[in-house]
């Protein structure tokens, strides 16, 4: 039965995301540990790496904040499953909350009521992108509250230019201190509009650590920003040290001549994600 199989793959993907940190992130954390000269910062990285092992070996969530379940869907226009996918995702989230388990994190802003299953108005949120073909590719991003609280959008005067963007990003990341659970991954969205800049920032967070923007100028901008942030000394968990961020990823849209929107999306070290590929004939694959 397609539905049961697909739903169970979606639950698997949420389990993989919650319990197994992707290898690019683990490698980046290990490299940060090797570089770390502050004993306090090193102790934080040791605790993080030990925690990651315990979570993977025991198949238990690495962080008690299992996040808001967010889905990025590249939907092939010829896939036969498009019409039913949102419903399956909703049901899979309810199932995953019980099975993994996930912390029930969705709360009604007006009544304070928590339905207990990570669903609610607009939740789980699905970002749709229409693509050619008959395949559906889904990325699961469980995003924690501590780092999301540190995300922001700034509407800069265009006159400040690229230097103004760098200054604003570094000042913001440094002002966050230990609150977003550094070492963080910083997604920077430039241009579009207020909402688009934030969306680009979140999309940038999805990229693997070590990947660079295909345009050399933007890739260089990413490297410079990372270097600048790590000169701050905020360090792991804000207790001081050499690594405040593991990566900076930038995505850019054209902008209105009067606007320079800057979205800054902060992801904690627990950069959890998993991928699902669903073919037109219903074969399905879950990867980190």
């Amino acid at each position: 039965m397609d539905e049961a199989k697909i739903r169970s793959a979606l639950v698997d993907a949420m389990r993989v995301a919650a319990t197994q940190l992707p290898s690019d992130v683990v490698d980046a954390l290990r490299a940060a540990r090797e570089r770390e000269t502050s004993p306090l910062g090193a102790a934080q990285l040791d605790a993080i790496l030990e925690n990651v092992d315990i979570a993977r070996d025991g198949s238990i969530p690495m962080c008690q904040d299992t996040g808001i379940q967010t889905f990025f869907v590249e939907a092939g226009t010829d896939s036969p499953f498009l019409g039913r996918l949102k419903d399956w995702i909703d049901r899979a989230v309810v199932e995953a909350t019980d099975a993994i388990p996930l912390r029930p994190n969705t709360v009604d802003p007006f009544t304070g009521e928590n339905p207990g299953d990570n669903t609610g108005r607009y939740m789980p949120f699905v970002n749709w992108e229409i693509v050619d073909g008959d395949e559906i590719r889904i990325t699961v991003l469980p995003k924690g509250g501590g780092s999301e609280n540190m995300s922001t959008v700034k509407m800069l005067p265009p006159g400040v230019g690229l230097k103004g963007i760098q200054k604003t990003v570094v000042e913001h990341v440094v002002s966050c201190g230990g609150k977003p659970c550094p070492p963080t991954i910083v997604g920077v969205g430039i241009g579009g509009g207020a909402d688009i800049a934030l969306k680009l920032g979140k999309k940038a967070v999805l990229r693997e650590i070590g990947s660079t923007h295909p345009e050399p100028e933007i890739a260089a901008f990413e490297r410079e920003l990372l270097d600048l942030i790590n000169r701050s000394g905020v360090g792991p968990m804000g207790v001081g040290g050499a690594t405040t961020s593991l990566a900076v990823h930038v995505e850019v849209a054209h902008r209105h001549p009067a606007s320079l929107p800057l979205g800054i999306l902060i992801q904690c070290w627990a950069d959890r994600r998993a991928h699902v590929r669903l073919s037109a004939v219903g074969t399905i694959e879950v990867t980190r």
């Binding site: 306090l40 102790a43 934080q44 605790a47 993080i48 030990e50 925690n51 315990i54 979570a55 025991g58 238990i60 969530p61 690495m62 962080c63 008690q64 904040d65 299992t66 388990p101 996930l102 912390r103 029930p104 994190n105 709360v107 928590n114 207990g116 924690g144 501590g146 609280n149 230097k163 760098q166 200054k167 570094v170 000042e171 440094v174 201190g177 230990g178 609150k179 659970c181 600048l228 000169r231 701050s232 000394g233 905020v234 968990m237 804000g238 207790v239 001081g240 904690c268 070290w269 627990a270």
Partner: protein
């Protein structure tokens, strides 16, 4: 200094703890985030008796993942939440209930610092996100209060912990504050970063 402590601990012992100490706690810990803080402060105002004695336990800013296991509960993941949200009322909370150790992440503000000094308590940082590591040091759930009213993350969970740590003291009762100590270095670094950008 590495210190293995058994709870409850008294005020004199707490006042010896200093920024930079690494603590491993054995004994009872209760969780409280925004809602449990409110609930307990309301109880105090109404002269309502609390179902547990917070002064004999460590306060843990944590919204855990727990699962029913038979008649009791099993802790799945229980790392710290961002403490500064509780800055709005932590000074009143400390004065009312006198837990000697506050566990959380990210540090707290000037009001809490002042209350730590008055009451004789410390703030200890636990590695953010280390929920699986923390769960392994919790031997059992002894009780849960206001679960139906507040929900799983916001309820007050009473944990029996063994060697719960490493906890890094970042704010102590003698005015010591690791975050404040770092500020001049970071400010100095920011100056050179901004100069580099302007180059």
């Amino acid at each position: 200094m590495k210190r293995e402590l058994t709870l409850p601990i008294d005020e004199a012992r707490t006042r010896e703890l200093r920024v930079g100490d690494i603590l491993y706690l054995t004994g009872r810990i209760f969780t409280a985030r925004d809602e449990a803080h409110h609930r307990m402060l309301e109880a105090r105002e109404a002269d309502e008796l609390l179902p547990f004695d917070p002064s004999r336990m460590a306060l843990f800013h944590c919204g855990p993942v727990v699962r029913k296991a038979g008649d009791g509960w099993e802790v799945i993941a229980a790392g710290p939440t961002t403490s500064v949200r509780m800055e709005l009322f932590e000074d009143r909370f400390l004065e009312a209930f006198r837990p000697r150790i506050v566990i959380g992440k990210g540090g707290m503000g000037a009001r809490t610092q002042a209350a730590l000094e008055t009451v004789g308590a410390v703030y200890a940082h636990y590695t953010g996100g280390a929920g699986a590591l923390a769960a392994g040091r919790i031997e059992r759930v002894e009780a849960v209060h206001w679960l139906d009213e507040l929900g799983m993350p916001e309820a007050a969970w009473i944990f029996a912990a063994r060697d719960f740590g490493p906890l890094l003291v970042t704010m102590d009762s003698a005015g010591g504050n690791l975050y404040r100590d770092l500020e001049p270095t970071i400010a100095e670094n920011m100056k050179s970063i901004l100069a580099r950008i302007e180059e």
